[in-house]
């Protein structure tokens, strides 16, 4: 068994037009920069993209957006991106907006083999239109479905050759669930180490969920809003 691939180029083998792909990250935090950058150099198009957000104009998924490689966006929040706005208003892109917790749980459920479940979020709003509603414990809930993808692309801090992953700070976000929900999961990590180097007590994503792993290069790790406390 060898899960280690050389680089992003080798990792994306098999990705073709019209596939459903999950990308980890919250805003620009914890996004798989290497894979996104390499996809932006290909002619792959028609992507159905599942990601909490859609990058910014010239970085992250914003690059695929600019190239018109994304056909449909499934997300909870797509602000901070004027190109997205333009494509949405001109009808060039479809969007499915989903409450963030429901999106997270749909991915978790998809990876865990749960086809559907009930949540209260969105009941009584336009999110509930066309969905089965049911009362549990005196409160109304709506039926939501698990999500999976042809490929899931995640970014971790450390990973080993078995595909075990550890995330740093708030960069776990959607990565941890998405890793479980791809038919093929690609993990790019800042530091790739031999099996046995990571303490098994502190693994976030067990290696079984990961099919391909590589050590990324040249991480920019752009920050959307730098907010600081002025030193005294």
């Amino acid at each position: 068994m060898n899960k280690v691939v050389k680089n992003a180029e080798e990792a994306i083998k098999g990705i073709s037009d019209n596939m459903t792909i999950m990308f980890g990250g919250f805003g620009l935090c914890g996004i798989p920069e290497n894979v996104i950058n390499i996809l932006a150099t290909t002619s792959i198009k028609g992507i159905i993209c599942i990601s909490n957000n859609c990058g910014v104009d010239d970085f992250g998924l914003g690059k695929l957006l600019k190239n018109k490689q994304i056909r449909k966006m499934i997300a909870s929040y797509v602000g901070e991106n004027s190109e997205f706005e333009r494509q949405l208003l001109s009808g060039e892109i479809e969007v499915d907006l989903i409450p963030q917790g429901t999106l997270a749980e749909r991915i978790r459920a998809g990876g865990a083999g749960i086809p559907a479940f009930y949540v209260p979020a969105g009941y009584g709003t336009e999110v509930a239109i066309g969905k089965e509603a049911r009362e549990y414990n005196g409160k109304m809930h709506i039926l939501e479905h698990g999500l999976t993808a042809d490929y899931a692309v995640v970014k971790a801090w450390k990973g080993d050759t078995q595909g075990n992953l550890i995330y740093k700070y708030t960069a776990s976000n959607f990565n941890n669930m998405m890793a479980t929900a791809g038919k093929i999961t690609i993990a790019e990590v800042e530091e790739l180490v031999p099996a046995g180097s990571l303490d098994p007590n502190f693994i976030h994503t067990p290696g079984v969920f990961v099919q391909r792993i590589f050590q990324g290069v040249n991480y920019e790790k752009r920050i959307e809003q730098i907010t600081v406390t002025k030193p005294n």
Partner: protein
């Protein structure tokens, strides 16, 4: 005088109780963290996977991997923990978060809230707002009472809803209102603002009983 944003935040901070786990929305709610009363310990939750938000970092400690739900760089306090988004919303949906404070465009007398979409304008998405209002045990809304003279405290919301029958309390620049089965109940008024002014600025059913005290800001 109507309250400014910081004063609204300061008044809401008086609702905090020791030991609370609190989720703060973007805008005025974020400011509440600056006014946690002396002797009270609250733990701030960030929906992107942090329990125990600390202050903004010193410039040399900024880390792209450590942000809040507003995508601002933050720090974490002793005893903090990090987790994924499904766990984060499990905390919220499961009723483990004691209080959610968020902004709104409109609130109705039944406790409905509209906060995410203005038809005709760009729709950016609801983010975590629908999950929060559908599940938190206690929801306080921080908002302006009116917009260009038009009341935002309504019989029925006119904008697309974020959630139904969920808001428990509203703190505006003019008043503190509880949402009761009978409608909005006036609890306090901003210093120098009269009950008549609040009645005039409120479209929804407003219950005024006895003397209404001024807020202690």
């Amino acid at each position: 005088m109507a309250l400014d944003k910081n004063q609204i935040a300061k008044r809401i901070a008086q609702e905090l109780k020791d030991g609370y786990y609190v989720n703060l929305g973007i805008g005025i709610p974020t400011l509440v963290a600056n006014y946690v009363p002396e002797g009270i310990e609250v733990t701030l939750q960030s929906e992107n996977g942090l329990l125990g938000i600390g202050p903004f970092p010193h410039p040399d400690k900024v880390d792209a991997d450590l942000i809040n739900a507003g995508k601002q760089t933050v720090t974490y306090v002793d005893g903090a923990s990090f987790f994924d988004s499904a766990t984060s919303f499990g905390m919220i949906r499961g009723g483990h978060i004691d209080l959610t404070i968020l902004g709104a465009f409109e609130v109705s007398e039944e406790g409905d809230i509209a906060s995410w979409k203005v038809p005709g304008k760009l729709v950016k998405g609801m983010g975590g707002a629908m999950d929060l209002v559908a599940a938190a045990k206690n929801i306080i809304v921080a908002m302006q009472h009116t917009n260009k003279g038009a009341s935002k405290i309504l019989k029925q919301c006119t904008l697309p809803l974020t959630g139904v029958k969920c808001v428990k309390k509203v703190v505006t620049d003019l008043a503190v209102l509880d949402i009761t089965p009978q409608g909005f109940k006036l609890i306090e008024r901003a210093p120098g603002v009269t009950v008549q002014e609040i009645i005039a600025a409120t479209e929804g059913k407003l219950i005024v009983e006895g003397d209404i005290p001024e807020m202690n800001i």
